[in-house]
């Protein structure tokens, strides 16, 4: 290699109790280079990032920075040597305001604000408690904070997973600028589009081991996937039925769910749509357009401030998620940590809804429970080798548990909020057909997704929400990415010079 690598790690080993997270990981980054770190869920990407930045200590392995051996003991020390991470989970202190967070990490304020602006967050108040900021803003602030310390190596762990498309573009642009300054970036993402447009090389981890490095270019995608998974995978087209064979439209039937003029607080105003039995209905929206509130209202977490929800033609009111569940509405939240008991077994997690109501508090019929849970595990093909505690499962399998629970309990309407966030490609490709299958058996699925390509793969129709209102309903045939994107920005197909400029969309997210 011509230039000396900026960062070089080899033979890194790390185990958490019985789990061997990294068995032999290595990685090399040259100045001015963007290296993708790829791997299925649980391959060890985040663990490697944490080790490189001193957040955890490796059991073995060598780390060289600028040609010198380094032992990184703490994130503070890593920062001094020029390694600055943005971890997969937000790292701002929730109870402090933004300014205090900056002071705590010795981040200069001026450059930070410059980066925040650059990344597309307008109107940030430094005295805003972090607690009140939406997830996407937190991710951006994390990145801006990292950039403000002018790192030699920037490590981005699924930075874009929870970001809306417009912000993703900004992030990609900023990352490119970094390389122009001869700085390096280690970039983790499950989205190939980002990898191919951004990265020079991709280092692939499988089961905690570095299996190789690939120059990113045309055709490299299939090779990476093969290396990641150790075996060829079926392509998207093979597993998802052609979108053309959509369900026959049955307009005369009463819809499973009809939402009329629904509003909630300031975020959701006047949303109306219908969802039929046997339909997968997509929800498309940029960050913070009211989709969170819509799902929370439909799942019984929040009471609407106006409007009606009808199920099978009957008006319903939910005071508690239990009411929604009783009406057949079940919710799979975007963050699986919200839905799981991490220290309990897979079985207990799946069986949890069985015992929610007081008259079910008594004796558990262990045999019956086992068969119901077993059937759901089977159906979703959950890898239960580590079923003792859900936290030992990989992210994708954890996500499956959150869905399996409702399949075991019986479901009429599934409300899925971004179920494929941060999930590897194989698992994703198992989840779409599952949702389709549920719909084919008569259930309905409301699916919010932050990845627009999924709409065509999984949905029959998509409602587009902008600024708390439904601005369009698009059939899956026509729901290609450009169309959805225009609609999501509030530009309907026939109305090219619509009023909503992009800036407003971005502005709407904090506040």
């Amino acid at each position: 290699m011509a230039t000396e690598p900026l960062l070089e790690a080899s033979g890194v080993v790390k185990s958490f109790g019985a789990v061997l997270a990294l068995r032999n990981a290595s990685l090399e980054v040259a100045p001015g280079e963007v290296v993708a770190l790829m791997g299925a869920n649980g391959a060890g990407k985040s663990t490697l990032v944490k080790i490189l930045t001193g957040a955890i200590r490796p059991d073995a392995g060598q780390i060289r920075i600028k040609g010198r051996d380094h032992r990184v003991h703490s994130p503070a020390q890593a920062r001094q040597t020029g390694l600055v991470p943005v971890y997969q989970e937000p790292s701002l202190i929730p109870d402090l305001d933004v300014a205090a967070n900056l002071r705590l990490s010795n981040t200069p304020v001026e450059p930070f604000l410059k980066w925040v602006e650059e990344l597309g967050i307008a109107g940030l108040h430094l005295d805003e408690p972090v607690l009140r900021l939406p997830l996407a803003t937190l991710r951006i602030l994390d990145l801006a904070r990292a950039l403000a310390s002018e790192p030699d190596v920037l490590l981005l762990d699924e930075m874009t997973a929870a970001l809306p498309t417009d912000l993703v573009e900004r992030v990609l642009k900023v990352v490119r600028q970094q390389c122009e300054l001869d700085r390096s970036v280690i970039y983790i993402s499950h989205r190939f589009s980002e990898i191919s447009s951004l990265c020079d090389r991709a280092t692939v981890l499988r089961d905690g081991e570095t299996v190789g490095t690939v120059e990113v270019g045309p055709g490299s995608e299939e090779r990476i996937v093969e290396m990641m998974l150790g075996a060829p995978v079926k392509s998207a087209e093979e597993i998802v039925r052609a979108t053309g064979s959509a369900l026959p439209v049955q307009t005369q039937e009463t819809p499973r769910l009809r939402v009329r003029n629904l509003s909630s607080g300031t975020k959701l105003s006047d949303v109306s749509f219908e969802m039929r039995a046997g339909e997968v209905l997509g929800v498309v929206a940029l960050e913070g357009q009211g989709q969170d509130e819509l799902f929370e209202v439909l799942a019984g977490f929040e009471r609407p401030s106006g409007g009606h929800i009808e199920i099978d033609g009957r008006d319903v009111r939910f005071h508690h998620p239990a009411d929604a569940i009783a009406a057949g509405h079940v919710y799979v939240p975007g963050d699986r940590a919200d839905a799981l008991l991490m220290q309990r077994s897979v079985r207990e997690n799946i069986a949890l809804p069985f015992y929610a109501r007081p008259f079910r508090w008594g004796n558990i019929n262990m045999g019956k429970e086992k068969s119901r849970v077993g059937a759901a595990i089977e159906r979703l093909q959950i890898d239960t080798r580590a079923q003792g505690e859900v936290q030992r499962l990989s992210g994708g399998n954890q996500q499956k548990v959150t869905i399996a629970r409702w399949i075991a309990a019986g479901v009429r309407t599934l409300l899925c909020f971004d179920p494929t966030r941060g999930i590897d490609i194989r698992t994703k490709r198992e989840i779409y057909p599952l949702l389709r299958e549920l719909a084919d058996q008569g259930s309905s699925v409301l699916l919010y997704t932050s990845e627009l390509e999924e709409v065509q793969l999984a949905c029959d129709r998509a409602v587009v929400i902008f600024n708390g209102r439904v601005v369009d309903v698009i059939d899956a045939h026509d729901a290609d990415e450009p169309t959805l994107m225009r609609a999501a920005y509030g530009l309907t197909a026939g109305d090219a010079n619509a009023k909503a400029p992009t800036g407003e969309a971005a502005e709407a997210s904090p506040s």
């Binding site: 703490s74 503070a76 202190i93 929730p94 109870d95 705590l104």
Partner: protein, 324 residues
Amino acid sequence: MIRFLRSHYWITGLFAILALLLVITKIIQPEYGASGIDSLARAALPFAFAAAAQTVVVIAGGIDLSIASMMAVTSVTAAVMMDGASEEYAIFVVIFVLCLGALMGTINGLLIVLTRVPDIVVTLAMLFVWEGVALMILKAPGGAAAEWLKGLLVGSLSIPGIPDAVTVWFPKSLILLAVCLMAVWIPFRRSRFGLSVYAIGSNSLAAFRTGVSVNRVKVGAYAMAGLFAAMGGLVLTMSTGIGAPIPGPYLLASVAAVVLGGVVLGGGRGGLLGPIVAVFILRLVRTDLTFLAVDPNITTIVEGTIMVVVVMIGGLLAVRGRRS
């Protein structure tokens, strides 16, 4: 101003309750005046320091069950050292005892960090240990306190230029309390250490990743609690003139004051002012009940009810706040 009131509604509410109670007190006992405020401040002193100690560790995400025992240790140490010693020597005693408190707190913190046993368990064990230490130092109430130290709590300062009619409303004990607390708290809030204490209480993982030495900060927070406990112990010796090895009722009182004062058990949120005002409220309630010659057993019931009801109202308000 409105923004301040909204974000500090809890403290504002506490001050309102305190003011209301003072008015009620004046109605029940028309003679209530400067000397009443003086007794109130003196009664509040040990509770206030105990509450301050608890506040620091609770903000850091912990809890310290050994505060009352540490107060007993420092109280008897001070009393034994000052027994028969000269008045000047007492200065060294004060310094020594403050260091001793910080040392005990440091030991608590180190044990928590090193053993990785939850705070509540370590400090429960240390409750017995410090109680034992106090008994080793002094078997029965005894010792002495320097006269000038005792005098620090009595009466009011006369400041040239301000008429006595004004200063009499600010008794020495109140000023002592304010000075001691602010001398520690203001630099604390301004420092990076203070920020770090809030940070580890709010989310220790995020704090660690931000570069905070979680363990060191935690030990620091416990050391500070020990320092406040030592102040509380000193105040006990100053007001009673002796040291007593049996811990007083300061542990549960400190937890109650902290929660009433709007500090969130679990860490990261709250300040010192709330718990201190809560201490004054609780003391004043007792005063009023004494004035009213209420059956002493009813007094216990009333105190319990107030504690529960205030926190319940707070809970309701919080739920409302989240809704709107």
